[in-house]
């Protein structure tokens, strides 16, 4: 790997990532040059290997430590993901670790105030309430809502506690808001979760297709890779679909800006043109897929004229995009919240899979589909079953898979809830609202700002009939409503693994001790399991590990033979050098860059993770129906016709609101809002609008604007840009922990409805009205 002329080994900043997010260009083809980005406040005594947890990219870094304190980070030059680079959040976010507002002791509510408690007292209370609720109402009255921010070992431990200890079906992650559709679309098309390609596909690909993924602001390091290729000798073409003039749209060869909620018509229009021109791989379709005829028939009515009418995408632009996507010899597609949080989420994401399938662009170098994750460890929430899945991508409707888990855990299969899929987040909150869930345990997530329709969510969290346990490192808007708050260690203060979008597993070593009495989430759940005295069927402890490494070993056994096979990995193998991709086993001792290299997919009825769904309704395909389809290792091409959004602008609420992220913050800013440089650069929310709309409503740049929907309202200063007319945008990061003078959270306004297959809420459209205030 060629090295950049300078290396970031000196103290201080190797570059100003706040002013220049992506840094200088390193034009290339094939081998991406190294550039080590570094930011330290003091010269470290030692460096500890880790990776970044402030987006899903999974950039490897070393944590600099001096006198037991984190004093900085530097990118790891030899890692396959980032080649030394880090983005602004990674370079600055670590400063939150030693912020004075860290929680350092358990807190128990007494009336309107918290008082400090010992761990014994807090855990005893939780255990007493758990046992009491379970005795009186069964485990179905206990729910867990976790995160995409913890480590694999923590999720797996939680999953075993929930599924084989308590036996509750109610466990989900905030991954439901971020990456549920990625998993759903991969399962529908390929039989199981698992990204087919690699980030390295960007090093050689002919074209990049990006739909609803603001890569330049969310995966800044991945975008550096695209930019460096674009400046190199053989630049890939770039097609962007997004209603906003985001940085990647300005760079694109073709930018389509459809109306909110019209991803399916646009994608169907592109597929129609590609099929019409004969830019398809008949041999691949016949040998390796089922369902093409239905797709051809469904998309046939989506002529460029029809697409223009419904989605407001000009005909020449659609044709230009189809020319690129139809003729590139290799193609990388990337999909994120603009698809996942919009109308027909899973259906639209599947059409991107279909594009690759009908063109035979899968399973080889340069051909990647990134059904993206939003969070650093969301992949692990999915793999371990700490969300609405079962561990190891197992199928809840396959009795053999339940037997496997029961054998692994030495429990009766009956205890493992498998009569229906695990309960989805929005349904968990609905059960809390109705009173049938009486205890909710929230870890490392902040639903009081991140869920849609906040007025309702606050009411649920405040309901005295729900015993609310929150474990977090800071007093979030959610923690402040809890009955018990448990202080946790952050990244850098505990050891564990996590896996990024391209299946690269990194081990993050403990660099420093957590403050005060804060404990790792793993230790908290191990303590809970011990106090609850969960046993296997021979009377031994259900949870047979006490360290993160032992938990990892247990997970390896669980994953063996499944697509996400970790059996060839170990803490030793993950220490030093680069992160390693799964599957890592006897067949692929160094991991595999591509899945499905032989055109065989995970759709065999005995192996798949899901039998799939009706994309319009979410109805499950029964095992019998699935066997009748007989995909037997072929990919499933699923067609979908357009269904208009249920809430559309009308006279009363004439504009669309869409929400999203900005480059300097992550989620509800629990950490990034406490890193001084990030906070200073993006202090407050805003309402982005077009010049036309600003003029129509008499709104000036910077003026305070009220955005109101049928559910609630939020206020923020106006920002006038080239966004599509009739569409407003608000970042979803801003809540109330640092400023509660006005309603400013975007989710005061958003819709609680969801995609019928992935159950991911529709944050990307709601009908609103605005006025200057």
């Amino acid at each position: 790997m060629p090295e950049a002329p300078w290396k970031g080994t000196r103290m201080g900043q190797s570059r100003d990532s706040i002013a220049d997010v992506w840094g200088p260009r390193a034009p290339y083809d094939k081998d991406w040059p190294v550039r080590v980005d570094e930011h330290t406040s003091e010269q470290p005594d030692r460096w500890v290997q880790s990776a970044c947890v402030l987006c899903s990219n999974g950039c490897a870094l070393d944590i600099g430590v001096k006198d037991g304190t984190i004093v900085g980070v530097r990118g790891r030059a030899d890692d396959r993901v980032n080649h030394g680079r880090l983005g602004p959040k990674g370079l600055h976010g670590w400063q939150a670790n030693h912020h004075r507002e860290r929680l350092t002791t358990p807190l128990v509510r007494r009336g309107d105030v918290f008082r400090e408690a010992s761990w014994d007292e807090a855990m005893d209370l939780i255990v007493r309430r758990s046992q009491d609720i379970r005795d009186r109402h069964t485990s179905s009255a206990i729910g867990f809502y976790t995160s995409g921010q913890l480590f694999l070992e923590e999720y797996y431990t939680l999953a075993v506690i929930g599924k084989a200890g308590l036996g509750t079906p109610h466990m989900d992650g905030n991954t439901r808001l971020c990456t549920a559709t990625a998993a759903a679309a991969l399962k529908e098309s390929f039989g199981t979760d698992g990204q087919p390609g690699s980030y390295t596909d960007l090093d050689t690909t002919d074209a990049v297709f990006d739909i609803g993924h603001n890569m330049a602001e969310q995966q800044t390091v991945l975008w550096m890779r695209v930019l460096d290729r674009r400046r190199g000798p053989r630049p890939p073409k770039l097609v962007i679909i997004d209603p906003r003039p985001i940085p990647s749209a300005l760079e694109a060869d073709v930018h389509l800006a459809p109306k909110p909620g019209t991803n399916v018509p646009v994608l169907n229009g592109l597929l129609h043109l590609i099929i019409e021109h004969g830019w398809i791989d008949r041999g691949f379709i016949d040998a390796h897929t089922i369902g093409f005829d239905r797709l051809e028939q469904t998309v046939s009515k989506w002529t460029p004229e029809a697409v223009e009418r419904v989605a407001d995408v000009p005909i020449p632009q659609l044709r230009a995009a189809a020319d690129i996507l139809g003729t590139a010899n290799t193609l990388v597609s990337t999909v994120l919240q603009g698809v996942y949080q919009s109308m027909q989420a899973t259906a639209a994401a599947c059409q991107v899979n279909n594009l690759h399938l009908i063109r035979g662009l899968i399973g080889r170098e340069g051909c990647g589909i990134y059904q993206m994750n939003g969070q650093p460890t969301a992949q692990n929430t999915r793999e371990t079953g700490a969300d609405g899945d079962l561990p190891g991508f197992r199928n809840w409707s396959n009795p053999q898979h339940i037997e496997e888990l029961a054998r692994l855990w030495n429990v009766s299969p009956d205890i493992i809830p498998h009569w229906a899929p695990p309960t989805h987040a929005m349904q968990i909150f609905r059960y809390c609202e109705q009173g049938s869930i009486k205890m909710l345990w929230v870890s490392a997530t902040n639903p009081a700002v991140s869920l849609p329709d906040l007025p309702r969510i606050r009411k649920i969290l405040d309901d005295e009939h729900v015993f609310l346990v929150v474990q977090d490192a800071f007093m979030t808007e959610t923690a402040s409503r809890a009955d018990v708050v448990l202080p946790t260690a952050l990244w850098g203060e505990k050891t564990g693994c996590f896996t990024n979008v391209d299946r690269t597993v990194h081990l993050s070593h403990k660099a420093v001790d957590p403050p005060g009495q804060a404990k790792s989430d793993l230790d908290i759940w191990l303590d809970y399991a011990k106090r609850m005295d969960f046993r296997d069927k021979d009377g031994a402890s259900l949870i047979k590990w006490t360290t993160s490494e032992a938990a990892f070993e247990a997970w390896k056994a669980c994953s063996k033979g499944r697509p996400c096979d970790y059996s060839g990995l170990s803490y030793a193998k993950l220490t030093g050098g680069s992160g390693i991709q799964w599957p890592c086993n006897d067949r692929f001792p160094d991991g595999a860059t591509h899945l499905y290299t032989d055109g065989r997919f995970n759709t065999d009825a005995d192996y798949n993770e899901s039998n799939g769904h009706d994309l319009d309704t979410g109805a499950q395909i029964t095992p019998k129906e699935y066997r009748a389809m007989n995909p037997a290792g072929r990919a499933i091409i699923k067609a979908a016709d357009y269904i208009p959004p249920y809430e559309r602008p009308d006279k009363e609420y004439p504009l669309w609101l869409t929400t999203g992220r900005i480059v300097y913050h992550f989620h509800t800013r629990t950490k990034t809002g406490r890193a001084p440089a990030l906070k200073a650069q993006a202090r407050d929310s805003f309402v982005e609008m077009s010049q036309e709309d600003a003029a129509a409503y008499g709104i000036q740049e910077g003026q305070m604007v009220e955005v109101r929907s049928r559910r609630g309202y939020a206020r923020a200063p106006a920002r006038i840009t080239g966004i599509k007319r009739g569409v407003l945008f608000m970042p979803f990061h801003y809540g109330y922990w640092d400023d509660n003078r006005r309603p400013r959270a975007a989710n005061e306004v958003t819709l609680p409805e969801w995609d019928p297959v992935s159950k991911q809420p529709h944050f990307k459209f709601s009908a609103v009205r605005i006025r200057a205030v």
Binding site: S140, E433, S436, T617, Q620, E753, P756, K759
Partner: protein, 151 residues
């Protein structure tokens, strides 16, 4: 020839199903999914009911002398909440199943009539009804344990 009688029956079934899905959509707005999906499924029944018109022109329509049997016993007054949701899904399933057998039987007659358009319409409507039933089964099976045990 009693094809007209079955056409009238199935049209009435679909019209009632259309209304019932709409009612359930209204009653269970607090669920994250019910309003949207039931509104969609209601529109499918409306389309199925409308599709009978051209065959009624062709084969006539005949009023059934038997009193309407099923619908009057279902949906007694507005119901809200967890148990009501399960009961409503259960009732919708019964109604949709009744429509499905009617489409199946009409499809048999259509084949004997060698009426290609009629055969295809019955097949399509049968498939749409199957999709409605599949969703009702998926949703009610998911709701049943919580409703019957923990609520």
């Amino acid at each position: 020839m009693h094809v007209g009688l079955y056409l009238k029956m199935v049209r009435d079934s679909e019209t009632r199903l259309q209304e019932a899905f709409k009612t359930v959509a209204d009653h269970h707005q607090a669920e994250p999914d019910m309003e949207e999906i039931c509104t969609l499924l209601s529109s499918w029944s409306a389309a199925k009911a409308a599709s009978t018109m051209r065959f009624m022109h062709k084969y006539g329509q005949e009023r059934d002398r038997e009193p309407e049997r099923l619908y009057s016993d279902l949906f007694q007054g507005p119901r809200r909440g967890g148990l009501a949701l399960l009961r409503d899904l259960h009732d919708l399933w019964l109604m949709a199943t009744e429509a499905q057998i009617a489409w199946t039987l009409l499809g048999q007659a259509a084949q004997a009539l060698r009426d290609k358009d009629f055969i295809q319409t019955c097949q399509q409507n049968n498939a749409q009804t199957h999709r409605q039933i599949s969703w009702l089964e998926t949703r009610s099976k998911q709701a049943a344990p919580q409703t019957l045990i923990a609520a």
